[in-house]
């Protein structure tokens, strides 16, 4: 039954994650933390950190990680496959009916309307990670400094993450 739940959960995520992987995070969190309780909230946040440290789309990382934790290799395969399945089917559909798809005003309207929805979901992600990812003033300091360095292009993502981890090790590790 676990495999079926994994399949259905990530199929839902795959079908409704408009706007790329980041926008899929609220959906993923809903399914794996709230509905099925496959990961705890802290584990979900650690998954975000792991996703940034590994190659590939964040939603694929999340599907593989959750599937692996719940059902081993087969679970990882089922979850990742279920997430990719809507992409396979919908792209075939679109390529087959390309001209009609583009010119239909209802389809165009729907797609245009997804933009504010995407912004709302993204803001929800930002608020949620700020709330849960920062424990104390040291974390806040690290986050603001890191954000500024990144914004002005002084450092890249992976070195920054490793640096943050190392500083965390020094600061939190001693106590």
């Amino acid at each position: 039954m676990t495999y079926l739940s994994l399949f259905l959960a990530f199929l839902r995520v795959g079908f409704f994650s408009f706007g790329g992987g980041l926008a899929a995070l609220p959906l993923i969190e809903r399914e794996i933390v709230n509905t099925y309780r496959w990961l705890s909230k802290p584990e979900f946040l650690e998954l975000l950190a792991l996703s940034q440290l590994t190659p590939g789309p964040i939603a694929i990382n999340a599907a593989t990680f959750t599937g692996f934790k719940v059902g081993g290799m087969l679970g990882a395969f089922v979850a990742t496959g279920a997430f990719c399945l809507p992409s396979v089917l919908l792209t075939i559909l679109v390529v087959t009916f390309l001209s009609r798809f583009r010119e239909n005003p209802y389809v165009a309207g729907f797609l245009r309307g997804l933009r504010p929805a995407l912004l709302a979901l993204l803001l929800r992600v930002a608020l949620s990670v700020i709330q849960d990812g920062i424990y104390d003033w040291f974390g806040l300091l690290l986050s603001i400094t890191g954000g500024a360095l990144l914004f002005f292009g002084k450092i890249e993502e992976i070195p920054l993450l490793l640096l943050g981890g190392a500083l965390g090790l020094l600061w939190y590790g001693w106590r």
Binding site: P55, A59, T91, G113, A120, R124, V129, G165
Partner: protein, 178 residues
């Protein structure tokens, strides 16, 4: 091995390489796919790639997976499509499986926890910055902002499933049709 099989195999390797060397989410893959398929190997025209990219962004799912899927369909049909998706997902799949294997055993260790506290503080800034950049592109005018704000309040106050936010936004777009 026939010429066609050899070409398919080479493209498979190309996508495998792109999947393995792009950190920081699927968007990072797009310029690499462009460089390899349009500029170097010339198996796809510029226009076809841009069309694939815009469709990929309007469909649900990971943008990189959608792009790989569409490009595969355009070049060589369903077989190529499935191969490209597989190649895009495999590096991510295996690196996460290896990491998860160790992580799930050692995550309780105080030192690992200390590392993640520091890394997570930085992940917060990564995500907030990405949200800012994507959000800026997604909205054009005050109607977009107002709808986004209303949906955000709805999401936070009522705790509805995020997929209803997607459907409400799309439905509102159909009503306005601008």
């Amino acid at each position: 091995m026939s010429e066609r099989h050899r070409r398919t195999f080479l493209l498979f390797l190309t996508f495998l390489k792109i999947g393995a060397f792009t950190w920081g989410g699927g968007y990072a893959m797009i310029p690499l796919i462009w460089r390899e398929l349009v500029e170097k190997q010339k198996v796809l025209s510029e226009d076809a790639f841009l069309e694939a990219l815009s469709i990929a962004q309007s469909l649900p799912g990971a943008v990189a997976v959608n792009t790989a899927s569409l490009v595969g369909l355009m070049i060589g049909g369903v077989t190529m499509q499935l191969l490209f998706i597989l190649a895009t997902a495999l590096p991510s799949f295996f690196s996460i499986v290896v990491l998860a294997f160790f992580f799930l055993r050692f995550r309780e260790l105080p030192l690992i926890q200390a590392f993640f506290r520091g890394a997570l503080a930085v992940v917060v800034s990564l995500i907030v910055l990405a949200v800012w950049q994507i959000g800026k592109k997604a909205t054009e005018d005050w109607i977009d902002l107002a709808v986004a704000f209303a949906l955000l309040v709805l999401l936070l106050r009522t705790g509805i499933h995020p997929l209803y936010v997607v459907l409400l936004g799309g439905g509102f777009g159909v009503l306005l049709r601008r």
